[in-house]
Subunit: 440 residues, 2 copies
Amino acid sequence: MKRSNLFLPTLKENPTEAKITSHRLMLRSGMVRQSSSGIYSWLPMGLKVLKNIEKIIRLEQDLIAQELLMPTIQDSEIWKKSGRFNDYGKEMLTFIDRHEHQLLYGPTNEELITDIFSKNIMSYKSLPLCLYHIQWKFRDEIRPRFGVMRGREFLMKDAYSFDISKEDAIKCYNRMFLSYLRIFNKMELKAIPVSADTGPIGGDLSHEFIILADTGESEVYLDKNILKEEIPNINYNDSKGISKLVDTLTSFYAAADDKYDEEEYMNIVNENNRLKTKGIEVGHLFYFGSKYSIPLEAKVNSKEGKVVPVEMGSYGIGVSRLVGAIIDAHHDDKGICWPESVSPFLIGIVNLRQNDIECSNLSDTIYNNLLSKDVSVLYDDRDEGAGIKLAEMDLIGVPWQIRIGPRGIKNGNFELLQRKTGDITEIKVKDMEKTINKLL
Amino acid sequence: MKRSNLFLPTLKENPTEAKITSHRLMLRSGMVRQSSSGIYSWLPMGLKVLKNIEKIIRLEQDLIAQELLMPTIQDSEIWKKSGRFNDYGKEMLTFIDRHEHQLLYGPTNEELITDIFSKNIMSYKSLPLCLYHIQWKFRDEIRPRFGVMRGREFLMKDAYSFDISKEDAIKCYNRMFLSYLRIFNKMELKAIPVSADTGPIGGDLSHEFIILADTGESEVYLDKNILKEEIPNINYNDSKGISKLVDTLTSFYAAADDKYDEEEYMNIVNENNRLKTKGIEVGHLFYFGSKYSIPLEAKVNSKEGKVVPVEMGSYGIGVSRLVGAIIDAHHDDKGICWPESVSPFLIGIVNLRQNDIECSNLSDTIYNNLLSKDVSVLYDDRDEGAGIKLAEMDLIGVPWQIRIGPRGIKNGNFELLQRKTGDITEIKVKDMEKTINKLL
């Protein structure tokens, strides 16, 4: 993409309404614009990141679940059946349609998926079943803030599992646990599983996945050793191996403020290993048995010929929130430093002297070479000063910058900068091909 | 995908609520389920088709426009500014949030995109600009019907163009015209452009794209010769060539009931060339000049240093409706006959004798071979009778069926059936590789 054609309204000044880094950088780098309190439009560059995150999630979730897509608007009837219509409170946006029928904008989908299950699945033979979707949700936050971190309309991946027994349900829970570790790892995020309250979803087993970041809204108390744990290479069929991994990870002390117990923490965790920090919740696992399957009649015929309610769990990831969380974890004072896996572009080309024919020719050549290789590339071809172009490329955080200027060209060179480290390498023009291939 | 693992609740009987073919077949083939009047959940197979359609649209639209994503919920203020808040009527779903602020579920996005433009673009140098998104919309239809053809929550691709002059705006309009022809063509749909009323969008130039199908809600009056026109291979930069194509296609008489004039039709179209039929609207182009840019202050500095409102157009495609339209255009009495470009699976494998070890081995071998080639394949491995399996594979409309049975195997053969034509070819097992490669 040529910068001169891209709709990328960057800002030079920090917007006053943005209190945290990710919000500030998302506005400044032209990724999003607010249209109403807590409701955002995703401009082209923001949308690219959102889609890259979705792609990572789908690749992992498709290994253990099937994707479907439920609507944003739900019927209030099923919420009355489950008993949550009144319980959910003012965060739920409800309204009546032209025929005076009460609807709501789904804040989560336990009721609807259970209703779909109950009408279409009759036998234990169809189990285990795990379904997920990636869909916009609405929660009418009393005080929307921090940009996409606590917006009202937000994108969520939510999966739902159906099993014949608690034992099978826990196996699915554990597979999700592993899947989440892998998903966040691919985004270069260190996600800490902490045991959690179940809140309005309910149930008796729950873990949150928390990214450590100074801008987080939760206080987190950790045993530092959990940060050293690597994710082993386990197959999703290996229930035993996964169970062992979950046991290991949950054996370290890790709690958010709602579950924190000072005495326990002091007793269990050696003083040198204590870490109190802030975190951002990006994922949540729930096992809640038959809380929804009984009232919504999600029952199957068992092997023994009995009709039994299924055992369920639900598993969420805050997709739009992750965009902010990744920025909060990956930035410096110049701007964003995208991990390659989610970056809107892999390579940026900065032509430092737009009116120099040699600079333009070499820039064009490299750009066309990258396009022919199907590399995602942003080419700043604007007639602007080098300082403006470099500052913007730093701000928007493209992982690799190719800088082409008259001084380098005189020596047959261009510069390659790695955004994360700031390391600059002089590259011979004749080694261009080799250098580019190494980045792919 | 193995059929035994796929959540595909097919129905043997025709659901009584379905009055038209596409609705009936979408329910029977387990693609969708209604959750509330005119609101559907897309089950895994339906979602695959929806995504394939989105992909075709993106590939073509990305050549002339940039994708962004606006939210589903909009602020009523901008609609009050444009004057449409009261005009739009009861089809617009409005509601108030917990802070008594009035919001609405977007039925279309002219206001919001114009607002985004006005706040971020200041100069003619940023023009031409064309932006699109693919997002769920809500229109509170008084009588939702025909499944996804006239639902309330529906997926739409809507693009918006911004130009400095009417001349440039018409060039963009024409590029969209060509893009739409190509998009529908790739889905194996014959789309007829007809001049149209502008309705609540407004403006003075508009075309609908209509698919001919008996289940359509619009009457269409045609000069048959338009059906013979091919789409030439024109570059999007070739404004003259595109303009000529648009002139040619719009020179044939083609009108839906709202624009039909009997006397004109009889005068212009020779009796032998008259065709009165029914159609489904799947796309709509509008040019409306400064209708929104004036009230919403989408103005730029012109080359001459004046501040001028931009010239706009909007361009919609009914993405979820297309799923139904394609089925209405591609089916027979056994079920759906998907065009390959949108089919949920390219190849289906039917093991006709599940308990025969030779049949199972060959089926497994072919399945694994296809998976290794990254071919989308559905393998019916269930322990069901051959009749049930074949009927279901016909119903769900996979373009190619590989049928493996004991009789064929005895002769070293399997059968390859083309769903659309019903043609069956006997294939030697040793020619499997070659045969499969030909389908890819």
